[in-house]
């Protein structure tokens, strides 16, 4: 079976879906809010834009809400929406009577979700740059930031944050593929997120699979987060574990539509 054809087939299902709108809204929301907030005090931008650590501040300010709220919530919802495409449209039975291996169906859906996640990162980064530069284009008192724009640093951060998101994606995917009722994965996801958020100061918080994105952000901004734990490795281990368990649960599911 042609990998590209299966990919195209799965990707087509997301066209005009709520999940695809969520990608757009999720990526634009925070940069837009920061832009609006910045525009309320245009006089502050004259000096602010010339600060040596301007880009780093923009980066950290933007990631604060993304890491703590937007990404966890967005992933929980988007993953649920993608898996619900089959349940809601009663389409599992048709999909499972097409000549595809279960492994292709399972992993292609996961790849689509990861692709949507990557799109959020791209939209977010693009909007972050665009809305930061926008005042320069039409406000005479604002010049292009003079501070260094370390693209490698931000690319590295993006990659790490992406990795931190994987346990959330894979656990939500596992639950979303198993439970027909949308509220079950949604409820468990929100509980896990709240648990991770409220126990951030706990020394063993790194054992919670939803906490890595928040921990990584806090660590990057100099908060008191244990440095001796490789949270990216933990994230990778959890996501591998959830993926394998999810696949086993899916394959051995008694009723396939």
């Amino acid at each position: 079976m042609n990998f590209l054809a299966i990919f195209q087939s799965e990707y087509l299902k997301t066209r005009r879906s709520l999940a695809s709108w969520l990608v757009l809204v999720g990526g634009i929301f925070t940069p837009l809010i920061i832009f609006i907030a910045r525009m309320r005090f245009p006089h502050k931008m004259t000096n602010g834009y010339q600060a040596p650590d301007f880009w780093l501040n923009v980066w950290n300010n933007s990631w604060e809400s993304m890491a703590m709220f937007m990404f966890p919530m967005g992933i929980i919802m988007a993953t649920g929406l993608v898996t619900q495409l089959e349940f809601k449209n009663n389409a599992w039975k048709q999909l499972h009577t097409t000549p595809q291996r279960y492994v292709s169906i399972y992993f292609m859906k996961l790849i689509i979700i990861l692709l949507l996640l990557a799109q959020v990162f791209i939209v977010f980064n693009g909007c972050l740059y665009f809305f930061t530069i926008l005042p320069v284009l039409f406000l005479s008192n604002v010049s292009y930031p003079s501070g260094a724009f370390d693209i490698m640093h931000y690319t590295r951060d993006n990659a790490k944050y992406f990795l931190d998101c994987l346990p959330i994606v894979t656990l939500q995917f596992l639950l979303g593929m198993h439970f027909k009722n949308f509220l079950v994965p949604l409820g468990i996801g929100f509980l896990m997120w709240i648990l991770s958020l409220t126990t951030l100061s706990w020394e063993y918080n790194y054992t919670l699979p939803f906490s890595y994105l928040m921990m990584d952000f806090l660590r990057n901004t100099g908060r008191n987060i244990p440095q001796n734990v490789n949270i990216h490795m933990m994230a990778l281990m959890y996501s591998t574990f959830f993926t394998v368990i999810g696949y086993v649960v899916y394959t051995f599911k008694h009723e396939k539509g």
Partner: protein
């Protein structure tokens, strides 16, 4: 050769945690199917009949691999389904219960999803849409379709890969009388021109008797009749009765019994089983000779629906 052959297919609904991997069979859970041996000849239109809850959909879902087989074997075109799942599914088109449509997409897009998987040419999408009578739905989303249109689109999906075997579960649900006739003609045409084997389930015999060549009747998970439509019609012939209306019921009954024909008095009539024409003529002649007035002679044939109900009751 049979397109579909099941051997002692037995199935119980798993009890336990939902329908997931934690489910397990318990001896106490009732059997939904019991030793089902379905034989669908290649090139036939096989009507799979049964009342609601008889086990039709469960059988079809087992044949398509949507339910895990527990006991028995399933062969499609002579190959074990379990061992050749992908090869077999390439040859099958199916429409099980309500059509599986992505409501936020158009008819074209819904078909494109499967066109890519099956690797058929894009022009096939237009072909099947024309075939099922949905050529001009344009940008209308599937959510805005009527039930009949959805059913047609479901059939278009089933036909997309030019299947050798079409499995349809109550495909006329939601269709108006005209739509039912159109679908019937389409299925006949597909079987006639392309030699497709069609397995179609229904709970109404009247709905498919004009379509099928073979019939299987399932009741409470057991196959109670399987054969050609002609065999079912012969069964009807055997069950037909002759009704005599005469001036003296007792004498008429006595005369019939003299010809070794068991007779029963039902209200004002004498009811005889189906008898050869010459014996009926001889009985009538004897009645007239004995001065019994014969007011009427009629032959009653059960319609197929009654036969179906009788088979199910047996």
């Amino acid at each position: 050769m049979y397109a579909i052959e099941t051997n002692n297919l037995t199935y119980r609904f798993p009890s336990g945690f939902g329908s997931g991997i934690f489910s397990h069979s318990k001896a106490s859970s009732p059997e939904i199917l019991h030793n089902l041996c379905l034989n669908v000849p290649q090139g036939s239109i096989y009507g799979f009949l049964g009342q609601n809850g008889a086990g039709k959909t469960t059988t079809l879902r087992l044949i398509l691999g949507l339910l895990k087989k527990q006991q028995g074997t399933i062969s499609i075109f002579g190959k074990s389904f379990h061992e050749h799942r992908l090869d077999i599914l390439r040859e099958i088109g199916s429409l099980i219960e309500s059509p599986s449509l992505y409501n936020h997409l158009t008819a074209q897009e819904n078909l494109a999803i499967y066109q890519k998987i099956y690797g058929v040419a894009e022009k096939r999408i237009t072909e099947v849409l024309d075939l099922v009578g949905l050529p001009d739905t344009g940008k209308k989303k599937a959510a805005e379709f009527s039930l009949g249109m959805k059913q047609r689109l479901g059939l278009a999906i089933a036909l997309l890969n030019k299947p050798s075997l079409l499995i349809l579960d109550e495909p006329t649900n939601g269709l108006d009388p005209n739509g039912i006739i159109e679908m019937r003609e389409l299925l006949k045409q597909l079987q006639r021109e392309q030699g497709i084997t069609i397995l179609i389930s229904s709970h109404l015999l009247a709905e498919i008797e004009k379509l099928v060549t073979h019939i299987g009747i399932i009741n409470k998970g057991q196959l109670v009749f399987q054969g050609t439509l002609d065999e079912l019609l012969t069964k009807r012939e055997q069950r037909s009765r002759t009704v005599l209306e005469t001036s003296d019921k007792q004498v008429t009954k006595h005369i019939a019994e003299q010809f070794n024909i068991p007779a029963e008095i039902e209200q004002e009539n004498i009811v005889l089983p189906a008898i050869p024409r010459d014996i009926l003529a001889a009985i009538t002649r004897t009645l007239v000779e004995k001065g019994i007035a014969v007011y009427g002679i009629s032959r009653i044939n059960d319609d197929l629906e009654t036969i179906f109900m009788n088979v199910v009751k047996e």
